[in-house]
């Protein structure tokens, strides 16, 4: 998941999660309550309006299509799947709990069949009942609307291969078998999938009414099941969420009642204006990265309102392997060598907020290995243990050898302050190593989908990836497998267009191995990481931390590693 446009990032092993949770508590100005679920609902603290601010909207409101952290954070309080991630702080938020299903699934047939029982009495926000037919229709809708994870997450459902080829007529009669009499849902997989339960807990697997449109709903509102529903959405102005009158808490762990009466998300404010709005209590929280110009101020004068949280995420540069000059591996490696990760960390706000990396799997993630091929003194054959400094001379040499020197390169970035500064830096680096680089900042509202579509002929871009669920496949398989590359589609999350069939087979093997021997699987993922980065379809820059700046009057801040701040649990009364 991408931060603005959306998410899908990677996974953290439980031990690592616990470790990072501890370190997160140390680094954060906030108080952490550990991995347990929240206390009982305090009715007297409910009410009021929570206001968020952002420079731009996050695109479509359709939970099956949107892939941004900006809206996944909201979906958490509005849409539900059969399973969900637990409402708990830090690492506890990776625990999968039954949500619209009564219990975790019964797994049979060597892991290929999962049987659920749908809870009774749950209604959508339009008053209609949630039925097993809605469940089946929702799974089919993943393919009909060309969800960005249709090919990466749900291609293992029986019948998905046909649906991927003919989305409009998708039928999953064999893959999702429902029985209205018993309220049961049987999910049949082609092969066992160690991460299937995580995939069923993310918003793309949310249950929508069967009547939901068979295309991207865009700004059309789809009824919800959670404590909040969407009242209005104008991407140029504001998104308003109000209480769902039909919501009754069915699981405090999966979907607790929310505190604010309304959640307003206002768009169009610069990051600096957002900081000021939060300082003045005109907004409760800001979405965009805090401009470096204001970080010192809030880190000194407003330290008690700042929460710094470690993330399993990365900022990276996908390079289009099917377009010149980056269809040449040496050109891609040159960019990796030239990139001064420490400089990018500075733009992001300094060492307290980010750390340079150059492996694909972030530090602390399952399968992560400490190595860096593209650093001063490192090479593909003999990687260093960590990134230390750029090697501009090597980069220039590779550009010469690739025969791409002097070619034009367009860099597409979001137009917020931090991304634009990053873009200017990248432009400077590409110019230095011999390219004619131009910067193309475009609205964050569309940048994420724009850079995915091959029709836009994006050569290199800047993007972010935040984990969807804790597993290495969420980074490597989702971002760089052949199945995640769909030419001509806005939902082609493999932005580099990288398709290495031999590595695809290895990734499949690693996922299968994970069912029986997670340690061996993680080792295999580490090897795959190195092989991928030898081809350098992307340049990984740094792993960021989340800085949440909330207003003085905002209470009950809780942070989930899965979805970040729990929006429904904020108290303003």
């Amino acid at each position: 998941m991408r931060k603005r446009p959306l998410i899908l990032a990677s996974v953290l092993a439980v031990a690592t999660l616990l470790l990072s949770a501890c370190s997160g508590s140390n680094n954060s100005a906030s108080t952490s309550t550990g991995g347990s679920s929240f206390g009982a609902y305090e009715k007297d603290k409910a009410g009021g309006i929570v206001t968020f601010v952002a420079s731009a909207a996050g695109g479509t409101l359709d939970p099956k299509v949107n892939y941004t952290a900006q809206y996944w954070q909201l979906y958490q309080a509005s849409y539900d799947g059969l399973l969900g991630f637990k409402y708990a702080d830090d690492a506890g938020s990776f625990e999968i709990v039954p949500n619209l299903a009564e219990a975790l699934p019964e797994v049979s047939n060597d892991g290929k069949t999962l049987t659920f029982k749908l809870r009774k009495g749950i209604k959508f926000s339009d008053g209609s009942d949630v039925t097993v037919n809605d469940v089946k229709a929702s799974f089919e809708r993943i393919f009909k609307v060309l969800s960005p994870t249709a090919g990466g997450f749900y291609n293992g459902i029986v019948g998905a291969d046909v649906c991927l080829k003919a989305p409009a007529t998708c039928k999953l009669d064999q893959g999702v078998v429902v029985d209205a009499a018993t309220n049961s849902v049987v999910l049949n997989l082609v092969a066992a999938d160690e991460t299937i339960q995580s995939k069923l807990a993310v918003p793309h697997a949310a249950i929508n009414p069967a009547s939901a449109p068979a295309k991207d709903a865009g700004t059309t509102i789809i009824p919800t099941t959670g404590p909040y529903m969407y009242k209005s959405y104008d991407p140029n102005k504001e998104l308003i969420m109000v209480r769902n009158p039909y919501f009754k808490e069915w699981s405090h762990d999966a979907q607790p009642q929310g505190y604010p009466d309304e959640i307003h998300f206002k768009f169009g404010l610069t990051a600096t204006a957002q900081v000021t709005a939060v300082q003045n209590d005109q907004a409760n929280w800001m979405f965009d990265p805090i401009p470096s110009d204001r970080l010192n101020e809030i880190g000194t004068k407003y330290a008690d309102q700042v929460h710094i949280q470690p993330l399993t995420a990365m900022w990276y540069l996908p390079m289009n392997v099917n377009l010149a000059p980056f269809n040449n591996v040496k050109a891609r490696q040159a960019v990796n060598y030239a990139l001064d990760r420490a400089a990018m960390v500075k733009i992001f706000g300094g060492e307290k907020l980010a750390a340079p990396v150059c492996s694909f799997l972030p530090p602390g993630f399952p399968g992560h290995v400490d190595y860096c091929q593209y650093t001063a003194g490192g090479s593909v054959e003999s990687p260093a243990s960590a990134w230390t400094a750029p090697d501009i001379e090597m980069a220039k040499k590779l550009v010469e050898e690739s025969g791409t020197k002097g070619q034009k390169v367009g860099i597409v970035v979001s137009d917020d302050e931090v991304n634009k500064q990053m873009g200017e830096y990248i432009q400077s680096v590409l110019t230095e190593i011999g390219y004619k680089a131009t910067l193309k900042p475009i609205s964050g509202n569309i940048q994420f989908t724009y850079i995915q579509n091959t029709n836009n002929k994006v050569q290199i871009s800047l993007s972010q990836w935040y984990q969807d669920y804790p597993a290495a496949s969420d980074f490597l398989y989702i971002l760089l497998s052949c199945g995640s590359f769909t030419p001509g589609s806005d939902s082609s999350i493999n932005m580099a267009g990288y398709c290495n069939k031999a590595l695809d087979v290895k990734m499949q093997k690693a996922m299968t191995l994970g069912l029986t021997d997670p340690a061996a699987a993680n080792k295999m993922w580490g090897d795959i990481d190195k092989e991928v980065m030898a081809d350098a379809p992307v340049a990984v820059a740094f792993t960021p931390k989340q800085v949440d700046f909330i207003s003085k009057g905002t209470k009950n801040y809780h942070f989930s590693k899965q979805y970040k701040m729990f929006v429904s649990q904020l108290q303003v009364k």
Partner: protein, 338 residues
């Protein structure tokens, strides 16, 4: 000089000489030309300043650069050491002409060097766009006013179309469209990101503001006795236009030049500020203000310095324009206002 003490005018002198003499006596022209001269000089020495004085490349990001000040090595982008230790602040004005005289921007680049390079682009685009406007306006005004009839109607309606759009709205729209695709007009090809684009765009959008008064003036001149005499004597159209009408229109054109220069410069700065004019890493005063926008709280000089230069230049050009107008206006000269 008071009204009761009219300027001495030698009737045998040509109007041009009289105007120049009047201009030379006008303090406004000296003040404005002095300021413009200094700014122009600074723009011209930009490469020398960057390479030989500041020893910096103003177009290259140097986020990890360091500078030695008084024997102490400091990072150009300094990490915070207070509170939670968040954020990086570019070094402020050092006051030393050697390097970072006005501090650094958020890419670690020397603001003073960029300011000088920015002056080159801003002044060049402003002057070129004003020239495009003046030349095309003169052409259109002369043809429309002299030919009248159908030709005048067509040209006037074309001007009306451009006039119908607010200048900035039209400039922004054209810039957004042409910024990524570039411009191809017959054999003219301008690539995306070229500074020829803002010159072309700004040059076009101001045409009605100059062409219409010129046309009006030509229409009036067309009816004057000396023009009728020339027509009656069988002079060629080109002779009438260039020998009888143009010299009488030129004073107005000369007055327009500094004013259009100022307007074009302001428009260029606005477009560059909106990231649709001069493209990074090139600098113009507008782009530097944009760079400084993110540093208003910690390093306001990054935005204020180009802002001040824009104000000074625009004010000087307008002041000079006023002086030129008065110098060319016989009524003002007769009153001795200057």
């Amino acid at each position: 000089m008071s009204i009761n003490e009219p300027a001495s005018v030698t009737l045998s002198e040509s109007p041009g000489k009289i105007a120049l003499r009047t201009l030379a006596r006008d303090r406004r022209s000296w003040i404005s030309l002095s300021i413009l001269g200094v700014i122009l000089l600074l723009a011209l020495i930009a490469p020398f300043y960057a390479s030989s004085i500041a020893h910096t490349d103003p177009f290259k990001s140097t986020l990890n650069a360091t500078i030695n000040i008084g024997g102490v090595t400091r990072q150009v982008l300094e990490p915070s050491t207070e509170g939670l230790g968040l954020g990086i602040t570019p070094i402020g004005p050092t006051g030393r002409p050697g390097a970072y005289f006005l501090g650094a921007d958020n890419q670690g680049r020397d603001v003073a060097a960029r300011l000088l390079y920015g002056a080159r682009n801003t002044l060049f685009i402003g002057a070129s766009a004003a020239l495009v406007t003046i030349l095309l306006s003169l052409l259109i005004g002369l043809i429309a006013g002299y030919r009248r009839g159908f030709v005048d109607s067509v040209l006037s309606r074309l001007l009306d179309v451009i006039w119908a759009f607010p200048v900035y709205l039209l400039s922004i729209s054209l810039s957004v469209v042409l910024l990524t695709s570039g411009l191809s007009l017959g054999f003219i090809h301008v690539g995306p990101g070229s500074i020829a684009l803002p010159i072309f765009i700004i040059g076009i959008v101001y045409i009605p503001y100059v062409a219409r008064p010129i046309r009006g003036q030509v229409l009036a001149l067309r009816e004057r006795e000396f023009v009728r005499a020339a027509v009656g004597s069988g002079a060629k159209h080109s002779t009438i236009i260039f020998r009888e009408i143009l010299p009488n229109v030129l004073p107005s054109v000369l007055v327009f030049i500094p004013i259009m220069f100022a307007l074009a410069m302001l428009t260029e700065s606005a477009l560059s500020f909106l990231s649709i004019g001069v493209q990074p890493p090139q600098a113009s005063w507008g782009t530097i203000i944009n760079d400084g926008l993110g540093l208003l709280y910690t390093r306001p000089v990054v935005a204020l310095a180009p802002g001040l230069l824009i104000v000074l230049t625009a004010a000087s050009l307008n002041l000079f324009g006023d002086a030129v107008r008065d110098g060319l206006d016989p009524k003002t000269r007769a009153r001795g206002d200057s």
